[in-house]
Amino acid sequence: MRRPDVAPDVVVAAQGGDEQAFERIVEHYQRPVFAIAYRMTCDAGRAEDLAQDVFLRVWRKLGTFRPDQPLRPWLLRLATNVCINALRKRRLPVVSVQTDDGADPREPQARDPEASELASRRELAEQLEGAIAQLPEDYRVIVTLRHVEEMSYEEIAEALGRPVGTVKVRLFRARERLRRILGPVLEDEG
């Protein structure tokens, strides 16, 4: 659930080098930053490393932030850039979309009633996770900001520095792509 922005005096104190104030900022925003990092890596350990990288960058760049502005969009934009750059530089591995039997769930599956019965909700969730991992990076960030942080289109656009229309289109395409992957599986289940 989304929390209100941190108080400006905390930001000012952190800008002055107050580590306790910065710790409050970390505590306040660790959830959305970790969520973005997790969506990028699909691994809690790597997501923590990445989230720490984000907060170190926030500490170094905090002097350039204007305290009269809301911190959340600025911080999440920084988080997005750090995560995407890390993903591109380090070529962080993401989980495979393929299921245990090697089938790609994006392809229409044969209607095997026995196989359909084996498809549990857990498997469905895992398939969805795998499908999310295959989305382009900025799509993953957008769906995370929308569905985890519950940000509006306008807020996401501001945080990412993209037009609202672009955000809407990418969010629509991401959801549609995931639905197309899950559709056949759900049909088999149903």
Partner: protein
């Protein structure tokens, strides 16, 4: 399953909660009559659930403490680097000035000839030793955190050695009498 024309946009907006009251009522009426769109909304509902907050694992316990420890380590490194850079800058300025002056000026060497090195107060040597001890402690701490720190510390020790030789040489020159002084001090 693609539903009716425009159904995908409406289904997403419906689950997003961005439809107006009239639009919502109209679409719900359509859903009652259209199994295809009903199915599509059910599929989207799965997607929305999978993308939501519960699908993300909790932030690992102790994350904040580890983060702050890493920040403290980073700040310590930064301070050491700043000290090294400041010392290097001072060294560069000093050597540049000496080079511009063409060596030790005559006025200084004349004064040095009058100084008895043995008369330098003990407190000065103690202060130098104290500074060297502090530098060694900081270097040791730095060595444990900075990759390649051993190289820099080795270079610093070499500089210190060279400086000691120069000081020894300087003291020797300063204690020489007039006939044996090298020409550079004339």
């Amino acid at each position: 399953m693609t539903g009716c024309e425009g159904g995908r946009e409406l289904a997403q907006a419906y689950l997003d909660g961005t439809l107006s009251g009239d639009e919502r009522a109209h679409f719900e009426g359509h859903l009652h009559a259209c199994p295809s769109c009903r199915r599509m909304v059910a599929e989207y509902r799965w997607v929305f659930t999978g993308l939501g907050e519960p699908a993300i694992p909790p932030v690992p316990a102790g994350f904040r403490a580890r983060m702050m420890a890493r920040l403290a380590q980073s700040r310590r490194r930064q301070r050491v680097w700043q000290s090294v850079v400041a010392a290097a800058a001072m060294l560069a300025v000093g050597t540049t000035l000496l080079a511009l002056m063409g060596g030790v000026p005559e006025a200084l060497t004349a004064r040095l000839r009058q100084v008895d090195p043995m008369a330098i107060p003990q407190a000065v040597w103690q202060a130098v030793e104290g500074l060297a001890g502090g530098a060694a402690a900081v270097s040791g701490d730095w060595l444990s955190h900075v990759p390649g720190g051993s190289l820099v510390i080795g270079a610093a020790l070499a500089l210190l050695g060279a400086q000691s030789i120069l000081v020894f040489r300087w003291r020797t020159l300063a204690s020489l009498n007039g006939e044996n002084r090298p020409r550079v001090l004339e």
